[in-house]
Structure formats: structure tokens, C-alpha cells
């Protein structure tokens, strides 16, 4: 297993590196980075010059890239002019909020998607299955931000039960958290439901489940012990990947609910033409995804004995 983990880590580093190349290339491709990074009122020529020096912008590309990587590694993602602080600091300050929201959304989608997926598969073609399939379809087709608006309309405006903006006191103020988390988890619920259902169906049709039934194992045990654990393997991988989609929709949800997270940070940066922030969030988001994927792979290695017992 050690070799497997080491290989995964190496692989993640390569991916990270490629990520920086992509971002770097994209920026350079479309114009002068210095101008992009200094498009704010009150900019002076000296600032432009300082920027060029700091990022090595008048050097050949390869050197520029070296400076870029060098800066990244030291945690220097540039300075935001909105907040007049290093981008990294701003990012780290807002990150916990997004993580809270993401975690809550994840929990909701797991609580809805997986049980329904299992029931759908076990009682295939029944009414439960129809409900499950419908929910999966809706999760995929109704955009998260529409759900958010509908929720606000219903619970915030018509019924007046829940507040529609902000984060409230502390991180886990449920009244403020529940609507955005639900809207955010909406899409994932659908995906997880779908995958759980098809994974369960595949496992339920396998030879070892067949044999378990021939052995006279009680049906309850067949489903929970034999089917569920095997079916969860691919679901686990997907659950980790759902994080990516959660971050996507999170941007819009955070804007709608004025939730002070990194998604909203990015939009604020975009609208204020605070480019370092936009680039910084893109890089950090990508890095986080790579990190989460790595963790999921390692977790997988522990659960599946076929990998755990490898060299």
C-alpha cells in the first residue's frame, strides 16, 4: 500500500504543477498581466513598475514562470487592493465559512442521496424507485441557484420563517445555514442517488450476492453486509469528486445568500477588478481539489483490502 500512496502523492504533485502552468498560460495568453493586476483607481506608474519587478513581467516566459512558482511556493499570491492585504490571508480568513457551508451541503446530500439510492435499488421499479429516479433527475436539471431563489421565496418571504442573508452568529447558526446548504447540496443529492442506485444494482446482480442468497443468509444481512459495502466503493470516489461541483455552485449560492465565503470573494474580486484575488482563488480552489482527491484515494486504499494488502 505504501507504494500506492506514494505514487498517488507524486501524481498529485504533477497535477498541481500542471494546474499552475494552465493558470499561468491563460493569464499570459490574453494580455499584459501587469495591466490586469493593476486595473484599479489611483494606480500610479511606480506601482506598475513594482508589480513588474515582483512578478518578473519583463523577463522571458520561462523566467516569469520561475518567479511565479517561486512566489506561489512562498505563499505569495499577490496583494488584493480591495482589502490591501495579501491574497492568501484574505482567502484563509474566508475559507472556514465556505468549508462550513460545503460540509453542511455534503451532509445533506449524503443523508438524502445515499439512503434513497439504496431503497431505489433494493425496491427496483416500485414507487420508491420512481420517486428516487425523479429526484435524481430534478437534482441534475434544476439549477442550484433557482432552488435557492425558490427557497427564499417560500421560507424567507412568504412564510417569513428563515433569514435570507448573511451568516448569523458563529459558524453553525442553523437558521442561516439551512437554506444555502440545502440549495448547495441539491445537485449532489441527485448525483449520489443515481450512482448509489446503479452501484447497488450492479452489486445486487453479482455472483457473490447470489451465493449469499443461496447460502440462506437473511436478506437484511445480504443487503447491509454484502451489497452495501461493495456498492459504496465507487460512491465514495464520487462523493469526493462531488466536492468539485459543490465548489462550483457554491459561488452562486454564496452570492445569493450573501454568505461570506471564498466563492463570493472571487465574485467581489471580479467585479472590483481585483485580479490577484480572482487568480488566487482559482489556484487555491484547484489545489484544494487536488488535495481532496488525494485524501479520497488514500481512504479508498484503507477500505479495499485488495489495495491495502498490495506492496
Amino acid at each position: 500500500m505504501k507504494q500506492y500512496i506514494l505514487r498517488r502523492i507524486l501524481y498529485s504533485m504533477v497535477t498541481l504543477w500542471l494546474l499552475t502552468v494552465i493558470v499561468f498560460t491563460a493569464v499570459r495568453f490574453t494580455g499584459d498581466p501587469a495591466l490586469l493586476m493593476s486595473d484599479y483607481p489611483g494606480v500610479r506608474p511606480e506601482d506598475l513598475a513594482a508589480l513588474r519587478a515582483q512578478w518578473g513581467l519583463d523577463q522571458p516566459y520561462l523566467v516569469q514562470y520561475g518567479v511565479f512558482i517561486g512566489n506561489l511556493v512562498r505563499g505569495n499570491l499577490g496583494t488584493s487592493f480591495q482589502f490591501n492585504m495579501p491574497v492568501l490571508d484574505v482567502y484563509l480568513r474566508r475559507l472556514p465559512n465556505s468549508i462550513t457551508l460545503g460540509l453542511a451541503a455534503f451532509l445533506i446530500s449524503v443523508a438524502i442521496g445515499i439512503p434513497l439510492g439504496i431503497v431505489s435499488a433494493v425496491r427496483i421499479n416500485s414507487r420508491w424507485d420512481s420517486v428516487g429516479k425523479l429526484l435524481a433527475l430534478l437534482g441534475l436539471s434544476v439549477p442550484g441557484f433557482f432552488v435557492a431563489l425558490l427557497l427564499i421565496l417560500l421560507f424567507g418571504v412568504s412564510l417569513g420563517w428563515l433569514p435570507v442573508m448573511g451568516m448569523g452568529q458563529g459558524l453553525w447558526d442553523v437558521r442561516y445555514l439551512i437554506m444555502p446548504a440545502f440549495a448547495l447540496g441539491w445537485f449532489s443529492s441527485g448525483s449520489l442517488l443515481r450512482l448509489t442506485r446503479s452501484s447497488m444494482l450492479e452489486v445486487l446482480g453479482s455472483e457473490y450476492v447470489k451465493l449469499a442468497r443461496f447460502k440462506g443468509t437473511p436478506e437484511r444481512v445480504v443487503i447491509v453486509k454484502h451489497a452495501f459495502r461493495n456498492a459504496m466503493l465507487p460512491v465514495l470516489t464520487l462523493a469526493g469528486l462531488q466536492l468539485v461541483n459543490t465548489i462550483n455552485v457554491a459561488v452562486v449560492i454564496e452570492v445569493i445568500f450573501s454568505w461570506p465565503g471564498i466563492g463570493r470573494l472571487m465574485i467581489e474580486g471580479l467585479l472590483s477588478r481585483d485580479f490577484p484575488v480572482v487568480q488566487g482563488v482559482a489556484l487555491m480552489a484547484g489545489a484544494m481539489i487536488v488535495g481532496v482527491n488525494l485524501l479520497v484515494d488514500i481512504l479508498y486504499a484503507y477500505i479495499d483490502p485488495r489495495i491495502r494488502l498490495m506492496r
Binding site: 436539471s141 434544476v142 441557484f145 421565496l153 468539485v244 455552485v249 459561488v251 481539489i289
Partner: protein, 306 residues
Amino acid sequence: MQTQERVRVAPLVFRIQSFSKVMGLLREAPLVPLLIIILVVLSASFADVLAPHDPEISVKNASGRPVASYLPPFWMQGGSLATPLGTDFHSRDILSRLLYGARVSLLVGVVGTLVAGALGTLLGILAGYVGGWCDQVIMRITDAWLALPTLIFAIFLASILKPSLWNIIVILALVFWTRYARVIRSQVLSLRERYFVQLAEVNGAGTLRVIWRHLLPNVLNTVMVLFSLTIGVAIIIEASLSFLGVGVPPPTPAWGSMMADGRGPLIAGKWWISVFPGLCIMLLVLATNLLGDWLRVRLDPELRNR
């Protein structure tokens, strides 16, 4: 030689078969999603004729003065049939804006996905067929690209490029090609071992010829299914971008930006500005997803679990 003749004819027949297969399929397709899509396409194409008002300027009443803003839909108190679905802050007719907005969603969704599909399929075929270092390089790039969350990457690109319709299409293409590349690659990997490909190779067919005449027709099924499935996501991403203000610039009507405009009024109880475009997006994406599902079941077997 005889074998070469046979090999050359087969892909041509294949392509004719593919076309009539498509026509035959359309006849069997599920009715409701198809109707919805046709409806949207018609609205977009004939918006000039169908829309009661100009979507970008305020509606004027008989005396030439702008009609009230925030008029509700006609079935509610205060609404009028002249503006059946209500008006927004600038007294613009919602219905007209919906009809014109279909253009943006469709155009961006379809063209963006097409470009993404073409790019992704090409790279996927290259990676799968040529293999070796070409494969490795493309795959690593794909993985890294996938690490960038779609919307965040789109926003990032939007901050670099100037906002315009075509740039959005470019952004979508850049963001989505990876999905195609991955799937097509694995399909090509298995196709590569099949007899008719090996036969062509043995007969001296060059790489390009094999790709064009043999591989492409066979991945067509998968591409079609992928296309119908990713169009929905593309439409939602475009709507999200418009919603966030980084999509198609105003005053061009787009469903996403309409929803954004309506967000404030929504809190004050004026729901129609946001909800109608939201419903449109939902119905369109639902339709494409249902169609895609049906296509997948019909054309199987490559994409059973996506």
C-alpha cells in the same frame, strides 16, 4: 485489392446508416422532452415575430409613456394582457425577454458544447489511438484541467477576457472538452483492438485514414449521447455566469441575468422576474437530460454508468 475495397466501402455505408439511424431515432424519441426543445428552438428562431415587445427597451402605453415597472403577470391584480408575464425594473416585457433569452441559452449551450465536443473528441482519439507519450501528456493535462472547478475556472477566464457572447462560448468549450476526451479515449482504446481497425492497419491505412474512416463513425454514438447530456450543464453554467454578471453583457436578454435582476425584487415579493426564467432553464435542461437519458439507453453500451 479486394480487401481494401471492402474496407473503404464499409465506413461510407456506416455513415449513411448513421444518418438514417438518427432520423429513425427521432421518430422514436420521447415526446414531451422533444416538444419542449422544439418549442424553445422555435421561440429563439422566431422571437422577432413572436415577441409582443422589444426586449431591450421599456414598454410604452398608448400615450407613449413607459408603462409601470414591476407589473405582475396578467392573472394577478394589477397585471395586464399587454405584458402577460409582467415587467421588470425598467418596464421591459418579461415574456419578450424570455423569448429572446432563449437565443442566448441555446446558442451558447449548443455551440459551446459542439466546440467542446469537437476538441475533446479529437484529443480523446489522439490519446487513445496514438498512445504512448501523446496519451500520457493529454491525460495528465486532462486531470489537471479537471481539478479546476468549472464555474471558478469560467469566472477566472471571464476576468481575463472581455465579456461577450463569443467569449462565453470559448470559455464553455475550454471548460468542457475534458469530459469528452476521457470517455472517447477509453472507447478508442477498446476499439483499437477490434478486427476492422487492425484489418485496415494491416492493409496499410495511415493513422489519419484510420481515424477518419473507422474510428470516428464508431464513436459517433457516444459523442451524441455525451452531447445531449452535457448540453444541460452548459446551459446551467451559462446561466450561472450571466447570473453572476460575467456572462453575456446587458442589455442582451439572458435568462441568467434576468434571474439576477429579479433577486432584489424577489425579497420584496415580486417573484415573476426571477421565477419565469428559472422555469425556462429548468424545463430546457430537464428536456435535454431526459433526451440524453433515452439516447443513452437506446445507444448504449459504452456509457452505462457515466
